[in-house]
Subunit: 137 residues, 2 copies
């Protein structure tokens, strides 16, 4: 008994995507909203799944990868073998995410440099040592 189902356009506007996008995700089996006749009714769980999908997409995951990610939360943890496999999977994904974080940090560092150069070039109090290129790039 969910608090209240969402319409497709509610979710679309909340997440800043088109309804087509949401239907597309369903078409690909990433979500399976209930129906009231023809109309789709999205539960809170559906909403979360969409949120997770979009979160993945923002950092460049494919839809397939997003599915894999989401499915981890609801695994068939029957035997120890499966659990170990899942743990290995988790490890992989963690490595992957950490690499992306490093990538982002490197880019942020680049932005810092550019900003400093701009500002000093705009008349921020002039540096004693003139701002040479740092080595991060």
């Amino acid at each position: 008994m969910p608090g209240r189902p969402y319409t497709i356009s509610e979710l679309a506007s909340e997440f800043g995507v088109t309804t087509r996008t949401i239907r597309f995700y369903e078409e690909k089996g990433l979500i399976s909203p209930a129906r009231a006749g023809h109309k789709r009714l999205y539960s809170a769980a559906d909403r979360v799944r969409i949120k997770l999908i979009l979160r993945g997409r923002r950092i460049g995951m494919t839809l397939r990868e997003c599915v894999g990610f989401i499915d981890m939360y609801d695994p068939a943890h029957d035997n120890a073998e499966q659990l170990h496999a899942l743990l290995a999977d988790v490890k992989q994904r963690r490595e992957n995410l950490l690499q992306r974080k490093r990538d982002i940090d490197a880019m942020l560092a680049g932005l810092d440099e550019v900003q400093v150069l701009c500002e000093s070039s705009l008349g921020g109090r002039p540096r004693l040592e003139k701002p040479r290129n740092r080595n991060t790039l």
Copy 2:
């Protein structure tokens, strides 16, 4: 006077991409290696550009976005107006990257949960409170 030019296959294998990919980037105007007759010769600067491109791609930037990012390092900072525009651009990009970092952190947190559940379910010393779903998802 670069230390020594790279061949296309050297760079391809160093970065784990195909030569096709590198030629494609050139086709799109992202790099412009020198030539020895027909053969391409990549300078250290070319190498850096490729590195930056791939870094961008890993976090889901399009090639176009990568170009924009790279071009910031070599701007036409003539007047103050341009510099202010550049600073605004930097700000935008920073926001964008920080959002992606938040996305990644959220996903890492999810991984932590899954891992804990797995491990405790595998016979890590059993919890007193049975490991209920936390609220982060």
